[in-house]
Amino acid sequence: MTDRMQDLSPQGLSPEERIKRLQERRAGSSATPRARRRHPAAKSRALFAGLALASFGLVGASMAATQAISTSTVAAPAPVVQAAAPAVTSTPVPSSKATTPAPAATRSAPVTSTRGS
């Protein structure tokens, strides 16, 4: 109270300066509780933000892992198909068709043999 009286005392202060000081004091007094005020769910906010970030990473990682697994399982039969290639080529085929690439021959060997050329 005494401080306020001293601050607002007219000694050596112009009216503009007093008004300015008073406004600063009011702004400071209203800003202080706002700055100090905490959110009621501050900890829960942090928890949910962390959970959201973690689930974002986990979901993305699980998608990538699922994609990698499916890609590897799709790529796995390729050697089996290639292994079957000699059996296809062992069938009586005209010598002119033996120059066809192995994957194409294995994928469509019966078809090409029936279609001919």
Binding site: A41, S44, R45, S55, V59, G60, A64
Partner: protein, 189 residues
């Protein structure tokens, strides 16, 4: 793998955004119905607001992933204009409309004290549409719509939202009483 990173970001961001929006709706319904007695209204309201804001952030992540993914090549028109996408236009439009409604709900909530309560409440009711459209968008437009875990999660969460909505509609006195509590908490917070 590197080519698909943004695709995973888009999908994961979309799923997390949907989950956060669903949680925000459930928290809001808890605020108005008070089905669970224990949590304080101020705590529920604070978390309700935060979850809504976080949902908007993850919708942004979803859009960022879609924009930066080189395979689907979504531009601003496909991201922000309904039915502009050549890929499943109706299903994608559901997500675009849901995004706009979510942003409208969030903006009006931030400006709640500067606008008539009736307008705020009318816009806020569209959060039900945000949830429904977002769920349909995830199930119909998304790659993960065929995922059984996602389907069951959508079913369970939709059941919870439906149950709480029915409680709110069928118990108006209780909801009205708690709504005034929530309003008080809102004006205080």
């Amino acid at each position: 793998m590197r080519d698909q990173t943004w695709w995973y970001v888009a999908r994961s961001g979309g799923i997390v955004a949907w989950a956060l929006a669903a949680l925000a709706v459930i928290w809001g319904l808890q605020l108005s119905t008070r089905l669970v007695r224990k949590p304080a209204p101020a705590w529920v309201l604070d978390l309700h607001r935060f979850l809504g804001g976080l949902a908007v952030v993850f919708v942004g992540v979803h859009l960022l992933g879609l924009a930066l993914d080189s395979f689907i090549a979504f531009g601003p028109a496909e991201l922000f204009v309904p039915f502009a996408s050549s890929y499943k236009p109706t299903e994608v439009a559901l997500g675009v409309v849901a995004m706009y409604l979510l942003v409208a709900v969030e903006v009006t909530s931030l400006l709640m004290k500067r606008m008539p309560r009736r307008i705020w409440r009318g816009v806020h009711y569209t959060s039900y549409a945000v949830f429904v459209l977002g769920t349909m968008h995830g199930l119909l437009a998304g790659t993960d719509g065929s995922n059984v875990v996602f389907q069951w999660t959508c079913l369970i969460v939709s059941g919870i939202v439906l149950y709480m909505t029915l409680v709110r509609i069928l118990a108006p006195k209780r909801a009205g009483a708690s709504r005034s509590t929530a309003d008080r908490a809102g004006t205080a917070g």
